[in-house]
C-alpha cells in the first residue's frame, strides 16, 4: 500500500513539475521530444538540434531538418567539447546540455523554413538579421518590418500565434531536405515512380516494386543503357512510355515501391524483362526463360 501511494505521489509530483510553466519562456518552448535522435532522422527535433548546434557555432550547414553527416560531425564535436561520451547520438544528457548552452528561436527558424529562405541561426548575432530580407510573396510586407523591431517579444508572440492557428498544429513544420538512397536523386525517384505507375498501377504492391526492380536490374545489365532515363525512355522498352501513360501523376504507393527497389528489394529474382501474358503480342518474349509471376506480369531473364 505504502509503495503504491508513494508511486502515486511521485507521478503527481512529476506531473506538477512537467506542467508548471518555467520562468524562462524561451527555453521552455518545446525543447526536444523524448526521442534519441540519430543519424538519418528527419523532423522537428532535427531542426531544433541543428539550430542549437549552429547557435553554438558547431554546425555551419543548412538547417533543413535532416540529420546528415554535417549534423553528425557537429554533434560529435559538441559532445567532445563538453566532455561527454562521443557517440553522435542525441540522447537525454546531450540534449539537456545543448538546451542549457544554447537558445532556440523556434518561430524564426520555422518561419524561414516555411518561406524557403536561406537563413542561419548563429548565437551572438541579431536573429532578425539572419534571414532573407526580401518579403515573401505570401506574407504581407508589414511582417518583416515588425520582426526587425523587438525581436524577442516578437518571437514569443509569434510562437503563441503559431500554436493558436489550428491548421498549423495539424501540419508539422516543414523540413526542406529529404533522405535519398545513395546514387539517386529525388527526380530520379520521381521519374521511376512515373514509369512504375504508368506500367503497373493496377498491380499489387510487390508487383510495383518488381517493375522498379526490373528498371534497376537493367541499369546494371550491360545490354541496357546505364541511366534511369536511358532505360525508361529507350524506344519500345515500356508501353506506358510509348503511349504517354507515363505522364499520369503517380501516387505515394508507386513512390515507396521505387524506394524499396532502390533500397535493395528485388522481388523478381534478378529479372530484366516482364510482360503481361494477356496482351503480349511478341512471340520473342514468350521464349525468354521465366522466373516467376507477380500479379498479371511474368518476369523473365
Amino acid at each position: 500500500m505504502n509503495i503504491k501511494s508513494l508511486i502515486k505521489l511521485g507521478i503527481a509530483l512529476v506531473l506538477i513539475i512537467a506542467l508548471t510553466p518555467c520562468s524562462n519562456l524561451e527555453q521552455r518552448a518545446e525543447a526536444f521530444s523524448n526521442q534519441v535522435i540519430q543519424q538519418g532522422a528527419v523532423g522537428d527535433d532535427v531542426i531544433e538540434l541543428q539550430s542549437r548546434l549552429q547557435y553554438l557555432g558547431f554546425y555551419n550547414g543548412k538547417i533543413d531538418g535532416v540529420f546528415g553527416w554535417g549534423t553528425y560531425w557537429a554533434l560529435r564535436n559538441f559532445q567532445y567539447e563538453f566532455g561527454m561520451k562521443v557517440d553522435g547520438l542525441a540522447g537525454q544528457e546531450t540534449k539537456a546540455k545543448l538546451v542549457k548552452a544554447s537558445k532556440y528561436h523556434e518561430s524564426h527558424v520555422k518561419e524561414q523554413l516555411k518561406q524557403g529562405n536561406k537563413f542561419s541561426h548563429y548565437g551572438g548575432t541579431d536573429i532578425a538579421k539572419q534571414g532573407e530580407g526580401k518579403p515573401s510573396k505570401k506574407q504581407p510586407t508589414g511582417n518583416n518590418a515588425q520582426q526587425g523591431g523587438n525581436q524577442k517579444a516578437q518571437n514569443q508572440t509569434g510562437a503563441k500565434g503559431n500554436q493558436a492557428a489550428p491548421q498549423k498544429q495539424a501540419a508539422p513544420s516543414k523540413v526542406t531536405a529529404a533522405n535519398t538512397p545513395n546514387g539517386f536523386s529525388q527526380n530520379d525517384i520521381q521519374l521511376m515512380a512515373n514509369a512504375v505507375y504508368g506500367e503497373a498501377r493496377g498491380e499489387p504492391y510487390e508487383g510495383q516494386v518488381a517493375v522498379a526492380a526490373v528498371i534497376l536490374n537493367r541499369l546494371e545489365s550491360a545490354t541496357f543503357p546505364n541511366t534511369v532515363s536511358g532505360v525508361i525512355f529507350e524506344p519500345l522498352a515500356f508501353t506506358a512510355v510509348a503511349d504517354g501513360q507515363i505522364w499520369l501523376t503517380p501516387n505515394e504507393r508507386a513512390k515507396s515501391a521505387v524506394l524499396d527497389a532502390i533500397n535493395g528489394w528485388d522481388p523478381t529474382g534478378n529479372a530484366i524483362y516482364y510482360f503481361n501474358p494477356d496482351t503480349a503480342t511478341s512471340s520473342w518474349i514468350w521464349g525468354r526463360p521465366q522466373i516467376k509471376k507477380i500479379g498479371k506480369h511474368i518476369f523473365c531473364k
Binding site: 526521442q35 534519441v36 535522435i37 540519430q38 543519424q39 538519418g40 532522422a41 523532423g43 527535433d45 555551419n60 546528415g68 553527416w69 554535417g70 553528425y72 560531425w73 560529435r76 547520438l89 524557403g116 536561406k118 526542406t176 531536405a177 529529404a178 535519398t180 538512397p181 545513395n182 546514387g183 536523386s185 529525388q186 527526380n187 530520379d188 520521381q190 521519374l191 512515373n194 499489387p204 510487390e206 546494371e220 541511366t227 532515363s229 525508361i232 525512355f233 512510355v241 510509348a242 503511349d243 504517354g244 515507396s256 524506394l259 524499396d260 533500397n263 535493395g264 528489394w265 528485388d266 522481388p267 529474382g269 534478378n270 525468354r288 526463360p289 522466373i291 516467376k292 509471376k293 531473364k301
Partner: protein, 449 residues
C-alpha cells in the same frame, strides 16, 4: 438510280477520308510522343550526367594516389562528353546555352590533360587542385539548377514539344517554364553548399553466386509456408498461396503470399529451397504516422534480426523516409566490418512493426572467412590518404574492390570542405582501393522556385 450510286460513292468517300484522317492523326500522335520521349530522355540524361559529374569531381578531390585519380579523371572526361551530347539533343536553339557547354568543355579538357599525365612523376599542383575545387563548386550549382528545372518538368508534366511550338510560333520565346528554367541554369545563381550522390558501395552487387554458401536441406512447399507464417506473424484467418520458381531462375525458391483481408495487410516473401532462408520479405500496408523515433525503430530492427538467427551484424546506416525507417546492417567479425554481407530492414514508425527485409546480398556472400592480420598499420595507411582530408574515424573493413574481390582495408571516414568521405586503403598492399563521397540529404525543390 444515278443519284443513289452517287450518294453511296460519296458516303464511302467521306467514310474513307475520315478513316484515313483518323489513321494519320494516330500516326502523328505516335510520332509526336516518340519525339517527346527522345527529348525527355536527353534532358533527364543530362541531369543525371551532371549529378554524376559533380559526384566524380567531388570524389577525385579526396583522392591521393595515381591509381585512383587517373581512372576517376578519365571518367570525368567521359561523363562530360556524354553530357555534352545530351545538351546537343535538346531543342534549345533559341535559348543561349553556351555557358553550360563551355563549362563541360572546360571540365573535359582539364580532366583529359590530367588523366593522361603520369601523376606519380607530376602530381597535381596546388593551382590544379584549386581548379578542381572550383569546377566542383560550379558543377554543383549547375546540378542544382538542372534539378530544379527537372522537378518542375516532372511536377507539371511539361513537354518539350510545347517548348518547340512556343519557339517556332512566336519567334521570341514566351513565358515558358522550361525555357525560364534553363535561363537560370545559365545565370550564375547563389551557390548551394550541398552535394549528394554518394557512390553507394553496399549497393554494388557481387556477380551472381546463386547462394552457393547456403547450408541446409531442401524444403518443400508446406515447410515454406510454415516459415513464411512465422515471419509475417499474421495469425489465423489468412489466405495463403505458395508458388515455385519458374524455369528461368538461377536458383530454387518458393514465393509465399499471405493476405489478411480484414486488416488489408498483404505480406509476400521469397524463400530459398535450400535451407529455407528468406531472400526478401515485404509487407504492404499504409503507414500514416510516426510515433517512434528512428533510434527506437533501430532497436526493433536489431531485436528482429536476433530473433531470426542473423548473427554478427553491425548497424551501418539508417535513414527515415516519411514514416518508414530503413536500416542497413553489415557483417562483423572481431570488429572488422564485412561490407558485402549486407541486410536491409524496413520498420514502420507507427507501431514499430517490421515491414520488410532484404537479405539477398547477405545470403549470397556470407560464409566463414579467414581474415588475415593487416600488414600495414593504421598509421602507415593514414599517410596514404590525401592530406587535405581531416580524418575523424578509422576502423578495419572488408570491401569488394573494383575487381570484385574481397579485400581487407583500413577504412577512414573524414571531412574535406563540406563533404564527408570514406577512404579505403588496402591493409596488405597500401593501395587506395576506394574513395567515396557520402551523400548528404537532398534539398526539396518544391515551392523553392
Amino acid at each position: 438510280m444515278v443519284r443513289g450510286i452517287l450518294i453511296t460513292l460519296l458516303t464511302i468517300g467521306v467514310a474513307g477520308a475520315a478513316f484515313w484522317g483518323y489513321q494519320e492523326h494516330q500516326e502523328k500522335n505516335a510520332i509526336l510522343q516518340n519525339a517527346e520521349n527522345n527529348y525527355q530522355r536527353a534532358f533527364h540524361d543530362l541531369s543525371f550526367q551532371m549529378d554524376l559529374l559533380n559526384d566524380k569531381i567531388g570524389t577525385s578531390l579526396a583522392m591521393n594516389s595515381r591509381e585512383s585519380l587517373s581512372p576517376a579523371l578519365a571518367e570525368v572526361w567521359k561523363i562530360t562528353s556524354q553530357a555534352h551530347n545530351d545538351v546537343g539533343q535538346l531543342p534549345l536553339t533559341l535559348v543561349p546555352f553556351n555557358k553550360t557547354e563551355e563549362f563541360l568543355a572546360n571540365v573535359g579538357d582539364f580532366a583529359y590533360k590530367t588523366a593522361v599525365r603520369d601523376l606519380d612523376n607530376e602530381p597535381l599542383t596546388d593551382d590544379e587542385y584549386k581548379t578542381l575545387k572550383s569546377l566542383y563548386k560550379e558543377s554543383g550549382k549547375i546540378q542544382n539548377d538542372l534539378r530544379k528545372v527537372q522537378q518542375m518538368v516532372l511536377k507539371d508534366n511539361l513537354t518539350w514539344m510545347d517548348v518547340e511550338l512556343a519557339l517556332a510560333t512566336e519567334g521570341a520565346p514566351a513565358d515558358n517554364t522550361i525555357i525560364d528554367g534553363f535561363k537560370t541554369v545559365e545565370k550564375t545563381v547563389e551557390s548551394y553548399s550541398e552535394t549528394e550522390f554518394g557512390a553507394g558501395m553496399v549497393k554494388i552487387k557481387k556477380e551472381d553466386e546463386n547462394f552457393q554458401h547456403l547450408q541446409g536441406k531442401p524444403i518443400n512447399k508446406n515447410e515454406a509456408l510454415e516459415i513464411a507464417k512465422k515471419w509475417s506473424s499474421l495469425g489465423k484467418g489468412v489466405e495463403t498461396k505458395v508458388t515455385e520458381n519458374g524455369e528461368g531462375s538461377d536458383y530454387g525458391f518458393f514465393s509465399v503470399s499471405i493476405e489478411d483481408k480484414k486488416k488489408d495487410i498483404h505480406s509476400t516473401m521469397d524463400i530459398t529451397k535450400k535451407g529455407g532462408y528468406p531472400i526478401w520479405f515485404l509487407v504492404s500496408r499504409d503507414v500514416e504516422e510516426s510515433n517512434l523515433s528512428l533510434n527506437a525503430a533501430s532497436e526493433k530492427a536489431i531485436a528482429f534480426l536476433k530473433d531470426h538467427d542473423f548473427k554478427d551484424l553491425d548497424l551501418f546506416e539508417s535513414a527515415q523516409y516519411d514514416n518508414i525507417g530503413v536500416f542497413t546492417f553489415v557483417g562483423k567479425s572481431d570488429d572488422v566490418r564485412i561490407y558485402p554481407d549486407s541486410i536491409k530492414v524496413k520498420v514502420a514508425l507507427d507501431n514499430g512493426g517490421i515491414i520488410g527485409l532484404s537479405a539477398e546480398d547477405y545470403l549470397k556472400s556470407n560464409h566463414a572467412r579467414e581474415i588475415s592480420k593487416p600488414k600495414i598499420t593504421a598509421t602507415e595507411a593514414k599517410e596514404k590518404v590525401n592530406p587535405n582530408v581531416k580524418i575523424m574515424e578509422e576502423r578495419l573493413g572488408v570491401i569488394l574492390n573494383d575487381l570484385r574481390e574481397e579485400v581487407l582495408c583500413h577504412e577512414f571516414t573524414g571531412v574535406l570542405g563540406d563533404d564527408t568521405y570514406r577512404i579505403y586503403i588496402n591493409a596488405e598492399t597500401g593501395v587506395e582501393e576506394k574513395v567515396e563521397k557520402l551523400h548528404n540529404a537532398e534539398q526539396i525543390y518544391e515551392d523553392v522556385v
